[in-house]
Subunit: 331 residues, 2 copies
Amino acid sequence: MDSIRTLEDPEATVLALDIGGTYTKAGLVSRSGEIRHVAVMDTASGDPFEQYVPRLAELFDRLRKASEKADPLAMGVGAPNASSQSGMMETPPNFQWGDRIPIANTCSKLWELPVFLTNDANAAALGEGRFGAARGLTDFVTLTLGTGLGSGIVSGGRLLTGANGLAGELGHINVFPEGRQCNCGLKGCLETYASVTGIRRTVFELIANRREPSVLEHYAFEELTGRIISEAANEGDALALEAFDYTAGILGTKMADTVAHLDPEAFVISGGLSQAGAILLEPLKRALEERLFPVYRGRVRVLMSSYTSEQAVLGPAALAWEKLEEGLGGR
Amino acid sequence: MDSIRTLEDPEATVLALDIGGTYTKAGLVSRSGEIRHVAVMDTASGDPFEQYVPRLAELFDRLRKASEKADPLAMGVGAPNASSQSGMMETPPNFQWGDRIPIANTCSKLWELPVFLTNDANAAALGEGRFGAARGLTDFVTLTLGTGLGSGIVSGGRLLTGANGLAGELGHINVFPEGRQCNCGLKGCLETYASVTGIRRTVFELIANRREPSVLEHYAFEELTGRIISEAANEGDALALEAFDYTAGILGTKMADTVAHLDPEAFVISGGLSQAGAILLEPLKRALEERLFPVYRGRVRVLMSSYTSEQAVLGPAALAWEKLEEGLGGR
């Protein structure tokens, strides 16, 4: 079999690996963003990393078998708290894998390829910029509203990395100095309000403070999901609607601060909470516009990510393609 | 007379023009940041721009006469609300010069040179990075605490400009949603607290709320300067000290949010309020460190600008040298 070894070959692919707290997705992705093959498994982040490695080897084997011509040029990996500088996942929350997980080396042993690593939020930003809602934009910010709030910043066509590779932790900007306790040890962080977990906390606060009946009173905190709150809001439940308004008001105000830093063309919103659609988006756009410094008004768009779950591999794929085009060697 | 026309010539200079609300400073600056000659005049921003132009011509003539070899390679200009894209000062606050002032064209008519223009805060950031407190740093933020709060952001060695050339308006991030009225029309902007004007407002608020005597009770609002408040604090006036602590607490908290965006190595503080020195700096560092997301702790320095007043020309000089090195043509 002849190897594919030029970027220009239309058959050329990269191997893209997205490691999430729940699922691990691997795909072969062309330069134009076509996902040729994809394979998914549970991450099982509560089990030791030693058990993950052979399962990842199997996942890669499934891809090799699915595609006879599987000869990717490089591997892109997006993972929580991953550092491009160290090649490690560093104390990722919700993972029982240890403090420094050598994920780049592990991957390159399983499939002998140059490996490019970044954290999941930065990978998402690269993917949206190359293949997704931010295609063609040079200045944008991605916000992933899931269990926490992840973010990636592209400015002047470049992903901002900062002095230590740690730029873009917008989940931890401050909303209220004496606000909700955050997992990070600080109080009042944005992700304690603007995330799936945040809106669940808001619902419970509203139940505690209000006397109107709500369908959400039937759920324990552990049972309450973003989907349940969205559905209640869509059916007109006043408390659920108030929870979305409150969340959107806080997030929009803080997005205005982000604009005052970066002057972006757009935000791209993704993650579980974004599935609420207009119930989140409309009050969010209003709060943002009201809070913008006047020179920015009418200039900042709020876009929804169009990705399906499997398209999460487009983030790490974009990273690999970008690095190949820059002519870098990887690990 | 032979012209100097190479960047490498040690005699080579650029003409640097710093237009402030009070003073206009012009200087001839070498590539290593040596200020060969400098000339200063009142800006008289309350008089029409038509009166400013002949006075600027005279200022340039003084430089020409002071230096027989005055043959600068280019002109760098820093001015409030100046846009590199339009070549205009656009509705600068505190200037009675109109809405769109063609400053780049005006300058190139007075001294036939390629002109590079940026706003004063961005020029300051470039100057600190090339010649000042941030020399050698690739990721830093400058904060000028004067009448308002000006800021410039350098990330990955590049000045951030944003989609519309309007990045770095940190004076207008929100502190309190229903806080102090700002000139921009919003409420609770950072510069209504963390600036010379901001601390004057804080002193008046404290006088209104407290009953302890303070030397600051002797001053009308118009008389009260940053220097008077600093001197009172240095002499142990409890109210003045409380005003600095309050200001530093707010600014430090918001600087932590800036770190969560950009992961900078340092902040560089300048402007009238920074002359208070340790009385501002010590509580500022404490508030910042307390509010930092844990991964950033111990990694962000707070530096004071070492510039004297005349060294303001180093900002626009840095702009001109940078553009010459990039081989750009100017206006």
